[in-house]
Symmetry: C2
Subunit: 265 residues, 2 copies
Amino acid sequence: MRGAVRPASNPLVAKLSHFLPLADEDLDALAELTAKTQQLAAHVDLITQGDVPRSPFAVLEGMACRYRILADGRRQILSFLVPGDICDVHAIVFRTVDHSIGTIVPTTIATIARDKLLEIRTRHPRINAALYWNAMQAEAIQREHIVALGRRDARGRVAYLLCELVWRQLASGLAADHAIRLPMTQSEIADMLGLTPVHVNRVLQGFRKERLINLGHHRLVLLDHERLERIAELSKDYLHMSGAPKEIERQLVRPERPRGEDRRS
Amino acid sequence: MRGAVRPASNPLVAKLSHFLPLADEDLDALAELTAKTQQLAAHVDLITQGDVPRSPFAVLEGMACRYRILADGRRQILSFLVPGDICDVHAIVFRTVDHSIGTIVPTTIATIARDKLLEIRTRHPRINAALYWNAMQAEAIQREHIVALGRRDARGRVAYLLCELVWRQLASGLAADHAIRLPMTQSEIADMLGLTPVHVNRVLQGFRKERLINLGHHRLVLLDHERLERIAELSKDYLHMSGAPKEIERQLVRPERPRGEDRRS
DNA sequence: CGATCTGTTGATATCCTTCAATTTTGGTGG
DNA sequence: CCACCAAAATTGAAGGATATCAACAGATCG
């Protein structure tokens, strides 16, 4: 109720629904949670490394990234944040945050009050479980990132990133078929993948010549996603999108007042 | 009470105490939690990628690692698990786990019953907060790993790993000064850092010639940790070991029955 | 419609890998 | 305790993937 965001068009709802079906009351709660939105210009920091932690937020439109600046000015992007992503800005157990978060293009976020989030997690076990799943998925994505940086060559890394971005946006209802908006620059892709912009460019040229992708004007189409997945040595499974295991669903889908889910340790 | 592990010698207690001081009742609870120990030989998998999730466990002695095997047999190690580390084997929100966990040397672990863990987290807000901090630290370590793989050269990566291992073991009371046991092979270091064993060897040789380290018989001594930290472009801060922010400590240290800490999202 | 950022291309340099051989270490059984 | 074996560490030589440097073209946006 009161939703500033219609449930159907809320990428957060779309994403969390992949884990388990949400009831109307859950949708209302999520709409309330994402009601307080904020428009940000491109290349604006939401938080800068060294700051004290801030409140969590969800990305509703646009794109942002978590990144780290090294002493000599080089940058490593830790993750891209697309609509539907929710980001707990380091909780409050740390005195300072160790990385920055900044927008890539004009972006709409919903800032989330920590106590309201806690309240909703207590009262909505399905949302609680879905958010927990979401956090586990974020960790799985980080692991994949490590594997890509550690053991894949430049073609594999680029293919991996393109597949992941498409899949994640499919999950949030933002991708038609295998086409997405790809608003970041090749420099930003390079900073995500541990490569130079020049080399990212060459790899992308290669993919175009091989008719694997169509890319221009910040619009990406995967023409042959199967081959790209093979180049990336990636299986869609790693996003763990097949929904909740039966026992969890059984617990949560019928309204029996169960405790949601235990926490990660 | 009943502790199979004496509090003073329990690396988990040592580690968690860095976040906030634990009361006697907390120590008892942790001793109980880590009472059910298990001895494992070297090179044994606790869990293999594709399995269904298992119960959490803590490493008490020895060393293990989380890793991923690629289609062509190459391996990427995601993290080393040292005594004091606690590992939530993917919770139960995933149907299968996406990476394996295996021992590197003979290792003692404590398996932890999920419901007992949940119960202790509910009844011991300090432990709950410390475990939450511990999870945040694990994520910070993963971020550092990504930065190292993406933006540091071989020397920087090796220096980073050596510093991190020493610091983490200092935190768990396992390092005298800047000396630790380094039980893994150079191949395993290579698989952690995205390098070849040959090149890891050359880097280590270089460090020895420059009198930065002493390494032999699986014993590592940092002779010049300041210079190593500079090579690694690393500051100890990233482990966030300076203890809980005042507001959290205020809430938790006096026994007022507060709710522990909200979760990450 | 000019200024600036982004993308593109070529030439060269370099860090790291690959391949191959040898030495050393650690473990095991006789 | 020693001999033996496999695994790990070490060293050298050569090749390859990516970085670096540099210049230009094209896009985007006041």
